[in-house]
């Protein structure tokens, strides 16, 4: 436990030191990034050792002489710690050149403090061994990330995004608190490990309430509304951490509670699977309709959380239907996708951050040709795009491969499992195709072609600390994609098998699968190398000409004529119109000398639209009616509290 505490202390020191030295901007950044990085490296090494040599590592201390704060690191915690520390480390390094405005020195210092708190609290969330500790760490995590989201608080839009995130994380926390209340009420204990003794109905209630609470943090449809607002508002390295790892703490919560309660009814597995399918498909459909690159990436987090839930749902169904191979495949695929998504999503957010910093715009449709001036950003973004589309030989494929195999195992089972499995498989196929469409759009429109607007011409990429983390992440995408052996091994170690009722997981069959992936990727590269050699032969001593793009006979092409991202996605969005209604604003052209016209389109998020109607308006109406209670007299407020306690005493 020592190196864990040490890493935690170093990270927090980094945050505090930033606040002390804020007047020396460069020194402040160096010391903050340095401390946080060293802390993360230590934590990463510690987590990896604990994952490879499992064993309960526990520590407990008294808090306020009443509650014990206890922490425990098992396989699942260690696995999440690995992705938390990896992404946080790289995000911290990235921030060195990203936060380059010395006019905002104090603000940057404060942001380093909250960044350090966020990393520490995420690590505490996944190591908390009892409900009180968990809730405390959870609240610190929510609050610190809230302050990071409103970094650019001057803009009203960002403040609104922060407010939305604040409301969502606290309503979610209320749900989790309600679940924990039932937990404590039934067991009289705060420890996660004592959960298995409850009656099944209580367990189901806890799981469903907690699923709503954790789902609102993870961004499960329809509780994802805050995500596409908060991510564009936050600085890019914060988006990388929030989207890459913070939302995964929701997944951690679901898996942890599921394992500790030991309720193996198919119903909960079906709920998780269904939520996963809906989030996955709708997430990517909404992503296709976005014009803001960071909003688009935020919707992709919704999609990938969906894929993770599909994996975990298949795992849960495998447990319910007594098929251990399906269970292990589903959980291993889902957990590996947690790691994979944290890698490629933070890579994509960092890439988007560089593009935004150098071009000054987040709007996809004015960008273009960025790849020509920004080679490293472009290539790493391409790797991230291939990985997130689940294409071999990159890491996204590996986790989806395992989830697919689990799904196919389920398709051979009886009716319910069969129906759920075929739906899961077809959804995954749809998600894969849609993600490919979406990332060919982003990459094709932003990085390729010609700049669509004179203001959006990309300058040279500068700032080695921004490029290095992206290179590392792209390298990881590739390594996991070609040599998944070690990473599948880690994911298998992370499965909380005792909570599923299994003794141990045999590694042999899964290692064969990883060997097959390595073989297939190697074959691919050998053939590609062969074709490349052939190409060299064919082009030997040939004349290579250079000319403008063939405009099909048109002689005056301009960059404005290029296909935009909006048109690229239009026909796919039309197919999904019931789920993604398109709002268009386009005054008709009339007369011989038409006036200037414009086109504006916006894809409505049905969750957001219905949330307004079904939740927000009734709640506002109700509170409006209850306004008389709030009259501003403090004596009466104290009276309310006393009255509430007296009334509650009757029920205990």
């Amino acid at each position: 436990m020592n190196s864990f505490t040490l890493s935690m202390a170093l990270i927090c020191c980094g945050g505090l030191a930033a606040l002390v030295f804020w007047r020396q901007f460069l020194f402040m950044k160096t010391i903050a990034v340095g401390f946080i990085s060293i802390g993360c490296v230590l934590g990463l090494i510690d987590a990896l050792t604990k994952l490879l040599h499992p064993g309960p590592y526990a520590v407990s201390l008294k808090y306020l002489n009443q509650f014990s704060l206890s922490f425990q690191i098992d396989g699942l915690s260690a696995f999440f710690l690995v992705s938390i520390y990896t992404v946080s480390l790289l995000a911290a390094i990235y921030s060195f050149h990203y936060l380059n405005d010395d006019q905002k020195a104090l603000r940057s210092a404060v942001s380093y403090l909250f960044f350090a708190l966020l990393i520490a609290s995420m690590a505490l969330v996944v190591t908390a061994a009892n409900l009180i500790t968990f809730m405390l760490a959870w609240e610190i995590m929510s609050l610190s990330s809230f302050f990071l989201v409103i970094y650019d608080y001057e803009s009203a839009e960002n403040r609104k995004a922060g407010y939305l995130y604040f409301v969502f994380s606290h309503v979610g926390a209320m749900f989790i608190l309600a679940a924990f209340g039932i937990f404590y009420g039934n067991t009289g204990s705060f420890m996660f490990t004592s959960g298995s003794t409850m009656p099944d109905s209580a367990k189901l209630a806890i799981l469903i309430l907690a699923f709503v609470g954790f789902g609102s943090k993870a961004g499960v449809f329809p509780f994802h509304v805050w995500l596409p607002h908060a991510h564009p508002a936050a600085p890019s390295h914060i988006s990388a951490v929030m989207s890459g790892v913070m939302i995964k703490t929701g997944i951690y919560g679901i898996v942890r509670l599921y394992a500790s309660l030991g309720l193996h009814t198919p119903l909960f597995g079906e709920i998780v699977l269904a939520a996963g399918m809906i989030s996955g498909i709708l997430g990517v459909v909404y992503a296709l309709g976005q014009h803001d690159i960071k909003r688009l990436l935020a919707y992709h987090s919704v999609e990938n959380i969906g894929i993770i839930l599909i994996g975990i749902g298949i795992g849960m169904l495998g447990v319910s239907f007594g098929n251990p191979i399906m269970a292990v495949l589903g959980f291993a695929g889902g957990l590996l996708h947690v790691l994979n998504h944290s890698i490629f999503k933070s890579l994509l957010f960092m890439g988007a951050g560089v593009v935004i910093q150098k071009t000054g715009t987040r709007t996809i449709d004015v960008l273009g040709g960025v790849l020509k001036n920004m080679k490293i950003t472009g290539i790493t973004f391409l790797v991230g795009s291939l990985a997130i589309s689940g294409l071999p030989p990159f890491n996204g494929f590996v986790s989806e491969f395992f989830i697919y195999l689990g799904g196919f195992k389920g398709a051979a089972l009886d009716r319910t499992a069969f129906v759920m499995s075929i739906m899961a498989i077809v959804s995954l196929a749809l998600i894969g195709g849609l993600a490919l469409a979406c990332f060919t759009k982003v990459f094709g429109v932003v990085f390729q072609g010609e700049p669509r607007h004179a203001d959006a011409i990309a300058g040279d990429e500068k700032g080695p600390t921004m490029l290095l983390p992206m290179l590392v992440l792209a390298g990881l995408c590739f390594i996991i994609g070609v040599f998944p052996r070690l990473f599948i091994y880690l994911a298998l170690k992370a499965i909380p098998i005792s909570g599923l009722g299994y003794g141990h997981v045999p590694m042999e069959p899964f290692m064969t699968m990883t060997a097959n992936i390595t073989l297939a990727a190697t074959v691919f590269f050998v053939i590609l190398a062969g074709i490349f050699a052939l190409r060299l032969v064919f082009y030997k001593d040939k004349t290579i000409g250079s000319a403008g793009t063939w405009g099909c006979g048109f002689t005056q092409p301009t960059a404005k004529m290029q296909y935009t991202g909006t048109s690229y996605a239009a026909s796919i969005l039309a197919f999904f119109r019931p789920a993604a209604p398109l709002q268009e604003d386009h005054p008709a052209i009339s007369g011989r000398f038409p006036a200037k016209t414009h086109y504006h389109s916006h894809v409505d998020d049905i969750a957001e639209r219905h949330m307004m109607r079904v939740v927000v308006s009734p709640v506002l109406w109700l509170f409006d009616r209850l306004r008389w209670i709030q009259h501003g007299d403090i004596h009466l407020y104290i009276g309310y509290i006393l009255l509430a306690i007296v009334v509650l005493l009757f029920f205990i």
């Binding site: 398709a411 075929i422 196929a429 195709g433 190409r535 064919f538 082009y539």
Partner: protein, 306 residues
């Protein structure tokens, strides 16, 4: 292994020949003599002997596109049993790898098209990204059926040796649905009529052809060879479903396989001659038909097994 490798080389070598069959059939319907059966080899040789002209808008991705798309098609053929013979490589789940590998090829074809900054190529790319989404759903539906029938997830288990299922065997009648569904997928994935018209002259109505407008010389040759191989891949699967017999004699197997292939290629040619290309917004409906067929086939077969 050596034999499998030889068969793989033969598949890559023969793919252009079979594609020429389609041209012959179309010429027959048009009352023309048509190009010689070796036309595609002449075209490829001509292209490989040329140089290239690159657009000033393009980057290295434009050159990578043809290589990756050819590579994905050729790699897919490595996993395909040729005339029921064991393929070079095979493992449980290789079909997932192949389908996603073809997706990788598609990604790079689209990326190469977007690289040119041409509005026409972008339009083609958008369609190329859209239609295969439905095709993939159908393919996975068919895969579920095959998996339930065999408990395996590899092409070798389905199409090599004494094949466990086919049009004339267990679950033959629902297999007819599968054959039709796969044929629709074949047409869509290989940009044939009625989804796309490889012979059209108006860029606005093209899908695949418009995306490769700017490619020239050996690069274009790679693209052509890649699309021949991809068509051969799908055609062999359909052929093995129509003619699923294992005779025990290699020569006879080869004859049957070739007969099956010729039937499929002629069917494509007939289709191109008698059907007009669909309007773009009708294509998804056409493709959804294949999904419905595959879905019904799966449900019906499961009833048979029970």
């Amino acid at each position: 292994m050596i034999k499998s490798l030889l068969f793989w080389a033969l598949a890559v070598f023969l793919a252009p020949f079979f594609s020429a069959l389609i041209l012959k059939v179309k010429a027959f319907f048009g009352g023309k003599k048509g190009p010689p059966l070796l036309i595609n080899y002449y075209t490829l040789l001509k292209l490989f002997n040329k140089g290239s002209v690159y657009s000033t808008s393009t980057t290295f991705i434009f050159k990578l596109g043809p290589m990756v798309s050819l590579c994905s098609a050729v790699t897919a053929l490595l996993f395909l049993p040729f005339a029921g013979h064991t393929p070079v490589f095979s493992f449980n789940g290789d079909l997932l790898f192949i389908l996603y590998l073809l997706g990788l090829g598609r990604f790079f074809t689209i990326a190469a098209a977007m690289d040119t900054a041409s509005p026409f190529e972008g339009m083609g790319a958008a369609r190329e990204a859209y239609f295969p989404i439905i095709c993939e759903a159908t393919l996975f539906m068919i895969l579920i059926l095959f998996y339930v029938l065999t408990g395996e997830l590899s092409l070798a288990a389905y199409f090599s040796g004494s094949q466990p299922f086919g049009l004339w065997q267990v679950a033959g009648s629902p297999m007819l649905f599968v054959v039709i569904a796969l044929f629709i997928i074949l047409l869509a994935e290989n940009s044939r009529v009625p989804v796309d018209d490889p012979a059209t002259h108006l860029e606005l109505t093209m899908i695949h052809e418009v995306m490769v407008l700017d490619h020239s010389g050996p690069d274009f040759g790679f693209i052509e060879l890649g699309s021949f191989c991809k068509l051969f891949f799908y055609a062999s699967i359909v052929a093995r479903l129509i003619v699923p017999f294992e005779t025990g004699y290699l020569a006879l197997n080869l004859c049957l396989f070739t007969a099956g292939l010729i039937v499929v290629y002629i069917a494509v040619g007939v289709m191109e001659s008698v059907v007009a290309r669909y309007r773009m917004d009708r294509v998804p409906k056409f493709l959804l038909t294949s999904f419905a067929l595959a879905f019904f086939a799966t449900v019906i077969t499961l009833e048979f097994i029970k």
